[in-house]
Subunit: 356 residues, 2 copies
């Protein structure tokens, strides 16, 4: 079955120009995309790309791209409940409807991430057996990537949530990064048993006591292990994960800026920097969040990619590619299966929780 | 009054060689240091520095350096209770005793940080009005530094703890970094009011409702604000703070390694890198944790500096200098005064806590 991606054309800070540019580029690569949002504004934006022939069904001649009209827009101020209850014809929730109708197989938006979470939960529904979905990020390493979750869907977590994140992260690492049997760690303030919080200790006990066929549990890990080839997946609550991810991004930016400032201070360094320019460019690309494009929301009944508001056309294009890959590689069915296969682990984690 | 620093000579991974080297360097700068630990082993180590003349009182001729015997050593496996109850003649607790006796004015150790916390609490005692001490880190920025606390003394915190960390951080920023009236933020997963956890929201309410003469409250901050000139102090629980600090260090190391690898890939880049070498060296020094040397434990009745186990002689020397500065600038009395001056804020924060 070919895969079609529903793209919320009114999500990002520079919508719909960025979305349309990304969608056109994706369609030119042969990816099937539906641009969801105000038909007239999208027609005007598509005309800038010399795409004038939108037929009555919203299809564009010659490209696997079409427009699906939605009359409203979700803003950053809309509460999740408002999104679902009263803005039913907004571009974001309509994307989810298109997947439910079988017209598309994945959703991507650079809009309000709380609203994306609400739509994922209420339109797609939770995966059976998973209590809370999680936002996953993949940090590039010299070899492979490190999957981090949760990056902010759940600011307060229970041990069962971390245990389920471990299972979902392992399946995601297999589907997305080709890791046959992921090594999974729990993020903590030290690797010794006594470290961590009540939350991490209970998750650690459950994961230690119940081995899984789908992943090996590596115990507590620290911040440095994100960049080492020690684990493939790191689980944490959404508060800590969100802060860790933002600190990581901010440190990389600060490092690059300080390096640039240091280079400016010396003439010979400037010459050196000129010679190093291609290296810096390569390096920047490796670290650039745009290279990755979007974070999947794992644990809902459909492929859902959350991109950031400031995403560039290139970032969104990469997000569309990812959405297509996840749908084509059957990420959701694999997660559904794993949730069932780990019923005993989840039951044990819940017993652990009520015992403590 | 001149300031003397009690240095635990058996704390770090390479003790006592590193400690002796740092102490000798500090004494040669005119700083007064007491090396605490096994007298014979210290005499042997000092002999390598051509310092043979230790008199019966432990003093060395010609340098403000002396040895104070302690028969035992705290290991990384010693529990805090063991340290305080049964290892009473270990080098670490003896350092604290020397301060209590008025012989020294500050303690520094690269040993077991849990044991340092226990000694600080039980030998020095908590500052009146402060419920829990915090470990503080100072992150260098192009202009000034950002004080982060708690970096790991308290993995689980209450709102009152974060409020007290705000006061202590502000006083520390003034005493140590010359910031007249610090801007203080609470670390969160977003800057909007609704973000954060129960803990951060309660601390945010208390700090918003009760202005202080000693600092201005700037609300929620994110990871990126560590590197921006937006706040001078960031407070968080010790679990999140420890992870944020380690992620920051790990990202800087990973960035540097990937840059080096990228340089190696291209000949012209190698030439460029040669020309840039002095810049890299300057840059490395700015980021090198050794430049800072140790983290003060704020909230106990005496200057206590926790250095890391792998500290180099240069790091420990910097830690000794810091310890001397904090003692000379009356950090502890300033914190004591501030705790009293903020009684109303603390009472309000506790009411906030019991109401929620």
């Amino acid at each position: 079955m070919s895969t079609t991606i529903a793209l919320d054309a009114f999500g990002g800070d520079n919508c719909p120009a960025v979305e349309v540019e990304a969608a056109v580029a994706a369609a030119r690569e042969g990816l099937s995309v539906i641009l969801v949002g105000d038909r007239d504004r999208l027609a005007a934006e598509l005309a800038r790309h010399d795409l004038h022939d939108i037929d009555a069904a919203g299809a564009l001649r010659g490209l696997p791209l079409r427009v699906h009209h939605a009359s409203e827009v979700i803003t950053m101020d809309d509460t999740p409940s408002k999104v679902v209850r009263s803005k039913t014809d907004a571009s974001m929730p309509v994307c989810f409807d298109l997947v439910k109708l079988g017209v598309a197989q994945a959703v991507i938006s650079a809009g309000n991430s709380g609203a994306m979470l609400a739509c994922g939960l209420l339109k797609f529904g939770r995966l059976k057996g998973i209590d809370r979905p999680a936002i996953s990020a993949s940090v590039p390493r010299p070899r492979g990537q490190c999957v981090l979750l949760d990056m902010g869907a759940n600011v307060e977590c229970k041990p069962i949530n971390l245990v389920q994140f471990a299972v979902m992260g392992a399946i995601f690492a297999r589907t997305s990064h080709g890791v046959a049997r992921a090594r999974v760690g729990v993020l903590s303030n030290g690797t010794e048993e006594g470290k961590g919080t009540e939350l991490t200790r209970a998750a650690h006990r459950a994961l230690s006591a119940h081995p899984s066929a789908d992943f090996s549990y590596a115990g507590y890990v620290e911040g440095k292990d994100i960049f080492k080839d020690r684990v493939d997946v790191i689980v944490t609550d959404g508060f800590t994960g969100n802060i860790a991810l933002k600190v990581m991004e901010a440190t990389a930016v600060a490092f690059a800026e300080q390096l640039r400032a240091a280079v400016e201070e010396r003439t010979l360094s400037k010459v050196g920097a000129l010679l190093m320019r291609p290296t810096f460019a390569l390096f920047k690309q490796r670290l650039d969040p745009d290279t990755y494009g979007g974070a999947p929301l794992l644990g809902v009944e459909g492929v859902t990619i959350i991109s950031h508001g400031g995403a560039s056309p290139r970032a969104l294009l990469n997000g569309i590619r990812l959405a297509g890959q996840y749908a084509a590689r059957d990420l959701t069915p694999a997660l559904r299966l794993a949730a069932q296969a780990h019923k005993d682990l989840f039951a044990a984690a819940k017993r652990e929780e009520s015992a403590s």
